[in-house]
Point group: C2
Chain length 493, copies 2
Amino acid sequence: MVASKQYPKKYGEGFSEWFDWIISEAEIYDYGRYPVKGVGIWLPYGFQIRKRVIEIIRSLLDEKGHEEILLPLLIPETLFRKESEHVRGFEGEVFWITKSGLEDIDVKLALRPTSETAISYMESLWIKSYRQLPKKYYQIVSVFRCETKMTKPMVRVREITTFKEAHTVHEDFEDSERQIAEAIEIYKKFFDLLGIPYIISRRPQWDKFAGALYTIAFDTIFPDKKAVQIGTVHNLGQTFTRVFDVKIQKRDETIDYAWQTSYGISERVIASVIAFHSDDKGLILPPNIAPYQVVIVPIYQQESKEKIIEYCRKIAEMLRESGIRVYEDYRDNLRPVDKFFEWELKGVPIRIEIGLRELSNNVVTIFRRDTMKRDVVAINQLTEKIRVLLNEIFENLSNRAWKELLSNVKLFNNFDEAVNFVKEGGGVAILPWCGNEKCVYSKLEGLEGISALGEVYKDSLNMLKINEKANEYRSCAFCDRQTRAFISIAKKY
Amino acid sequence: MVASKQYPKKYGEGFSEWFDWIISEAEIYDYGRYPVKGVGIWLPYGFQIRKRVIEIIRSLLDEKGHEEILLPLLIPETLFRKESEHVRGFEGEVFWITKSGLEDIDVKLALRPTSETAISYMESLWIKSYRQLPKKYYQIVSVFRCETKMTKPMVRVREITTFKEAHTVHEDFEDSERQIAEAIEIYKKFFDLLGIPYIISRRPQWDKFAGALYTIAFDTIFPDKKAVQIGTVHNLGQTFTRVFDVKIQKRDETIDYAWQTSYGISERVIASVIAFHSDDKGLILPPNIAPYQVVIVPIYQQESKEKIIEYCRKIAEMLRESGIRVYEDYRDNLRPVDKFFEWELKGVPIRIEIGLRELSNNVVTIFRRDTMKRDVVAINQLTEKIRVLLNEIFENLSNRAWKELLSNVKLFNNFDEAVNFVKEGGGVAILPWCGNEKCVYSKLEGLEGISALGEVYKDSLNMLKINEKANEYRSCAFCDRQTRAFISIAKKY
């Protein structure tokens, strides 16, 4: 953690290098040194960020009646292979246990790539009647996917350590659709609370979750202008309940297979926090997930040391009493400027600097990480000022992030122009569309590296200010038929 | 969850059957139905108990400067095999991944049975100087051990889902010894906060952790009078730092291998909570880990329903405002007596019953789960009464548990009498001892099923009121030499 003038730049070509640098230097995630490909270590500072992100999603789910459980990691091959479409989707990426101790084992065990099969098996034992429904379970666990593409820390890993998977059960299709809407609202709130901007799309059939009726996805755009899937919501229909025999007695006393949905997020959410809320100097953490919201750095000569530290402690105590998370940096072997550098890198939202001048005037100097601006505040107004500032910083981060996303989304009438925009690293192109997936598939087939994110969701059309332009875009950019919707294309992680 | 008069009895022969029954009926842990041997599912109610137990140990560790991290689950064979004694201790129980997708993989991957090898490898990259020390890490994760003995829910499982493993690094032996003392204090506090009684022993060399200098263990005694290891603390010396090359610059500028300790607990802690804090009617949860501390059950006829529920809601609100966790049971399809039965089984510490009589007198009836006694309390005294009662219930549970443990520990001068006591299901026998392990080993060798827990720790001798008798026990029960210590023997899980 030594000051260096040559650190990588976030925007442009260097994003990937910058990302590796920041997660290492800010002591978030140790990646690429442990001798297994595609796995990383959450370091103490990163772990605290992760923990707060988890607490946010947990409280949003609990609020809506989800119940947290913990399913086994191991899925026997017999269970895993029951649903054929699901198997085809995952079997290329599954880690298999074939030995225990020195012995071979009878039935191979998969490390869960996701838990639809495990929970459906249990649901056939747990759920018998519509009276128990809707039932909403979730767990937050590691899942394993032996990615064959190039691995990337937090974004494409083989051990996904922060996989929140929700699994719900319903009496009928209508109720599963209501659940899909609820899940989308929960994820919107979640990303909003982290200031992460997103585009919601309905994935094309060829890109849906293996076994689902359809998949709704949340994507965001990274500084390298590629789209990243950060959350998915699946209507599973009766796919798994049929093969696992999850039958219920319905309100009308008939017996039928139940309906399911599932929805997941991963540490890509944390990667997105880093990608958006940061600059060339390092992180800028949203105050609600910052391990420390305020760091206090004393500035003293040997003779003033004692009374300045005493003053710092008093201020720290005062802030803590109103629930603000404070770190007091009294390390002796570092100059104040080195501490400034370190805490700017680690993204602490507010720094308080206290020297003799502050002490004698009953004030402190505060420094906002997002604007890099200083201000002087009287002690008796400090707590209130910090509260206001933490909110302002969050608003500012969130607004900046949305602005950045919007600047990377462009509406096109012409397919070739859209493709050029994406190819040249422009971001996400949105096109008027007749609604026929074949139309899109045939045009994209030959274009290596460009994918359809899918039909842009109504909400997102509003947020992207596209709905208002709908009248100007009357014909499908693929086939000239009448426009029914908008579809987006992008380079995708 | 139907009332049945034939449920199994906790004490005597039936403990194991009783334990299976209670974890299933109280909806804590679904075991034996998922098609992989030795793994279980934490159900919503059990998960909430587990979560609170985890929060307690987390806050005790954080308070003492431990930092939470998350290491990879997968350990490559090359890393795992580096320390030979460690390998011998674990290799019979390791699950191995040999395939990913349809391909064989080059270097087999172990599911961690514990993380000494993984973290020592990383510490060789992280730690360079005594200035960084002591360093205290921990993680709370699943570990995997393919147990060959009969598996038992929470007690001997193949996926240990709630493994808290701490790993510390020190400049020298003295500091590692200070850490061992700190770890023991943390675990004592932890078990005290759960009202779980324990005996602390230094394990014999033949039963220490594979790779450690020595192991200190916490044992408790289950209703079947068998000893159960519920926590261990290991001084690892320089065993792992040598093979993983964790070298540090010391205060005197020399370079040397660092010293390590590690200490762990598992869901056996939760099994112990269940084993002690329960009776033939079900659980009695310590209030600090109870998902609900108070359940409110309304008793009404159709015509009084509305106003009674309104009264219940007001009371629930009042209790919640002072931080008490309340569940309001307004289910229409159950009689009050069925609700009583269910919440008694699930161990909610206090029940509030509210009918017309309570409503018209501005009182409620409260029922204590531990004593099964009712009392009538005026509304304006209720919050305070509940607070006091929750403390009293905890004290009562803790006292009962210690009394039970003490009743199952007996001091013997004569080895054969001690063995008979243990054989006949008496519990833990304590014997005066010369301190020579060979003495004990040779006597126990032929005795199938009886183990030495080890030298009883000073603290425990006091708690077991044995120190005061030390003068009467002057000669070793194994060899007639002079007594230096006390050793315990028992049937062990």
